[in-house]
Symmetry: C2
Subunit: 186 residues, 2 copies
């Protein structure tokens, strides 16, 4: 399981509360490892018990205390262990593909609409990634260490979203041609 490890990486960059971490997961890290705030709170609690992180209770005026977590030695050790461990290729769960494969069992036009919707969502996210790339990494060849690694992960996101947009376009073109030819050489 990598949620612990994603949290460790994120907390190492900057300590923070569960809530804050959830926000970060909605943005950067979460593009590569999705998690809800519930999951994060429970995992942080467990990690605290394992001494992978330490919590500092910060009293606040009015509202309840917040807990600022930071990585502990145990966590750094665990992270090093995990980084060297051989992992399995990610298990894929891509329901849009399942829909395309089953399109002829329903209304293929409706499935094409769904593909078009996803295409737009992926294109939007691709724009977001490209904007981050331009703004935060204007000169990739000058990058080293952590900054380079952050950039490379972003590059992965860009490649993935681009591939998805192109695939959606291919699917749409083929399905629309097929539907137009419906009365023809079937």
């Amino acid at each position: 399981m990598a949620l612990e490890h994603a949290i460790l990486v994120s907390l190492d960059e900057r300590p923070g509360t569960g809530y804050e971490l959830a926000r970060r997961f909605d943005k950067s890290i979460g593009f590569f490892w999705a998690a809800t705030h519930q999951q994060i709170y429970r995992t942080l609690k467990r990690m605290d018990e394992l001494h992978w992180v330490t919590a500092e209770e910060v009293p606040q005026d009015g509202r309840p205390d917040k807990k600022v977590y930071r990585v502990d030695d145990g966590g750094r050790q665990e992270l090093r262990r995990w980084l060297e461990e051989a992992g399995e290729p990610a298990t894929i769960r891509h329901d849009l593909s399942v829909k395309v494969r089953g399109a002829s069992l329903g209304d293929p036009g409706k499935v094409a609409d769904e593909v078009a919707r996803h295409r737009d969502q992926h294109a939007e996210r691709l724009d977001v990634f490209r904007a981050i790339e331009k703004k935060d990494f204007p000169d990739p060849s000058a990058l080293h260490g952590r900054r380079l690694h952050q950039y490379l992960v972003l590059r992965g996101g860009i490649r993935a979203e681009q591939a998805l947009v192109e695939w959606c376009d291919e699917v749409l073109a083929a399905m629309r041609t097929d539907m137009r030819e419906d009365g023809g050489a079937r």
Copy 2:
């Protein structure tokens, strides 16, 4: 949840037992929706209770009866409903990206080795997909309906694996350059 729907799509193409379905998931459909035999057995049982599938018990000499499942009217209806439903973009869980992002907290060389391993696995799967494409779909422009949809899903797999191979290569090149320059302009 799409496991039910993936099973419906697969059973519609050809009825089969839970065991057989698990085999199919190891191959074709499973490249886009991973599932273990346990999950499939439990889901089939539930789908039977919902009258989405019907089970035909086939006695066998010696070994226990097998249950051949096929799609029922309820299942076809449910599948049509699901196909038209707007779905969320897939939640991503790509732990290799988390490892790359955290590489500087451990041994970057070891992480690069891990990226290389994954690169080879993806390249292998890409070869498998390309072989299927050549063998089963020699003339894509002549495809219609279900065959076309199967082809398009395969195309998605090819694009995804290709993007991953290229990304791994980019990561490897950049990380190796960075490590070579280690004593230099850091």
